[in-house]
Symmetry: C2
Amino acid sequence: MKTAWEYRYAHRTQKMGSSVIRELLKLTAQPDIISFAGGLPAPEVFPVAEFKQACNYVLDHFGAQALQYSTTEGYGPLRAMIARNTSRYSVPIVTENILITSGSQQALDFIGRLFVNRGDYIALESPTYLGALQAWNAYGAQYIPVPADEDGMIVDELEEALRMGPKFIYVLPNFQNPSGSTMSLERRKKLVELADRYGVPIIEDDPYGQLRYEGEHLPSVVALDSAYRGYGEECYSGNVIYLSTFSKLLAPGIRLAWVVAPEEVIKRLVMAKQAADLHTASFNQYVAYEVGKAGFLDEHVEVIRRTYKERRDVMLEMMDEMFPTSVRWTRPKGGMFLWGILPDFLDAADVLRVAIERKVAFVPGEAFHPNGGGANTMRLNFSYSSPENIREGITRLGTTLKELIKQNGHG
Amino acid sequence: MKTAWEYRYAHRTQKMGSSVIRELLKLTAQPDIISFAGGLPAPEVFPVAEFKQACNYVLDHFGAQALQYSTTEGYGPLRAMIARNTSRYSVPIVTENILITSGSQQALDFIGRLFVNRGDYIALESPTYLGALQAWNAYGAQYIPVPADEDGMIVDELEEALRMGPKFIYVLPNFQNPSGSTMSLERRKKLVELADRYGVPIIEDDPYGQLRYEGEHLPSVVALDSAYRGYGEECYSGNVIYLSTFSKLLAPGIRLAWVVAPEEVIKRLVMAKQAADLHTASFNQYVAYEVGKAGFLDEHVEVIRRTYKERRDVMLEMMDEMFPTSVRWTRPKGGMFLWGILPDFLDAADVLRVAIERKVAFVPGEAFHPNGGGANTMRLNFSYSSPENIREGITRLGTTLKELIKQNGHG
């Protein structure tokens, strides 16, 4: 029976419906599957004891405030803490440059809401983060894909895209989801200059920036933009909106992330957030502040780095050993993902179907390509599974790939 | 200096910017003002001890899950608990009829996102909830106001509105924000019949339904719609989307609310939520389930009712004593607000300016009128202030009103 709602959906719902990430999260819930599909942090590194201590402290000392409605911008001390940390390792900013959001996905949604008219173009790396595409599809965005390699977006190809008039540029410079690539310093500088020359602003999405397992930390695009403009200690008012999150540093289940932007943009984002959900949970913000205030995050990120570095190393080592030579893959210097490229004649979705029978899973790469293509690509997550499961899962997957390549007469 | 973002805002931002609630929340933060302006629950009734116990239990037993990403629909046991409670006091539904949202404001936003094309009309009570107008303004909604009195929307006037082709009808049948009025049973039944006859669905917003201080509980519109259609114990698939929240029963700072809707609508809402913020904080959902699972909410609501009934009674008693006779007001049977109507020659915004000097605050009623008007109306919140502060605040406000009426030569 049709409900009275059936013919009342708005135009914008026509581009909704891609629920790839969601279906994948369901896959990972089957306990007997070794899943490299999700984008989950390792639960072993969640600082449960510190959360417990913080919850008790907050409820003992600030129960009435932490359980009450609060301001849309976010909890003042938490915003100030983030501003201090950002000033220390990235770009000098003040509290007024910060908005707390319910995860970075919400920040991506608000950016679509503020800037994307139906039909507007966005220049971005191909492949790129699926969640950003989902957020902006809802506002009728279109995409100008810019090719990328192991050093990130190929900035020399960006100039042509900029002449097509995109509303903004979207980049994930560090250990990109899905490819694992990191944009080189030279390209970052060139990106800042080109964006300034064409007057096109930049969204820098940086959930993994601190999860580096080798090599030197590279300055963020927002920091380079600030330096390029000669800003000092004042309020940042440049060309970049920078996103980061506690999902990878603390835990995703508290849904806490933040936006760094010029104060005028923050004011507009606050209006968007007010209409969207009033404010992010006060309790979660108080607790995150308590967990983070005494420098705990600096220690904790070391634990995460050690854990994920080992898992990345095990995965790469096993792939070297078990994967057929006709498959290529990236060797990310950080983050949570690596990217595989299968021989052209293999479709990763077909591989997945067989792999699931063998109780191992990954994400076919096609959905990460804004305008299609990449049917022979795959994303593998190395942060969630234990080293033992990575060994077993990569063995299963390698065996599957070898068989499928042989079946296709190329063995 | 203008940033590169300045001329890049989308059309839809032109209707953003009303930040009345937000500015009001700032007012309430000044400690020496007695504020009847906000819509805050009394912090004295927050079950802090139960939250503490629940946080510890959840982190001891479900730390890895509660801090991890989870499904967009919400935590299964919490959805099932809400479905059971809803079936018990309202309408028979199942888990699949429930979506968890980050506050009811988010549910209102998603309803706009799913159903409102720019220029679509929504039929609603005038005055109505400001947050709904803010949510739907962002999608370019227009409004057909239907007059209301102490028995809620005057349903006889709705029929004319329905012939104008609204996308849906929005009602707050219980202790409405801002007016405090409650829709009579007869009108609820008529509303269900009219909506069915014209094929126009209904959004029923019910944050205060359980906060009744006198009289009999009235069946919700969704329950009447279900009975009208002859549904039994199956999945609800009728004409109404019903919204409620833990903000008033537990605490608003955890941002937890829910939508009851036909399963097909829930599926679409899930897609909207996936693009908007992936999911509501897992930790908060685990904690709310632990707090609520053993029937605690039934006891706790009694505490809230007792507390708010006393405050309502004190406020009404003091108004009877202190307010000039040319001011009229509602006598709500529940909820958190009452509504004042000043003599035509007084503008409530002018009154507020003087009142703030006398350290008492309220909300001028004009903003609650979708198409303007009501400059002589005011909303008073009675849940947040202590009885002592209500006595003092109403005394100050009554004195101010008497003076202003006298100054205008009508004393």
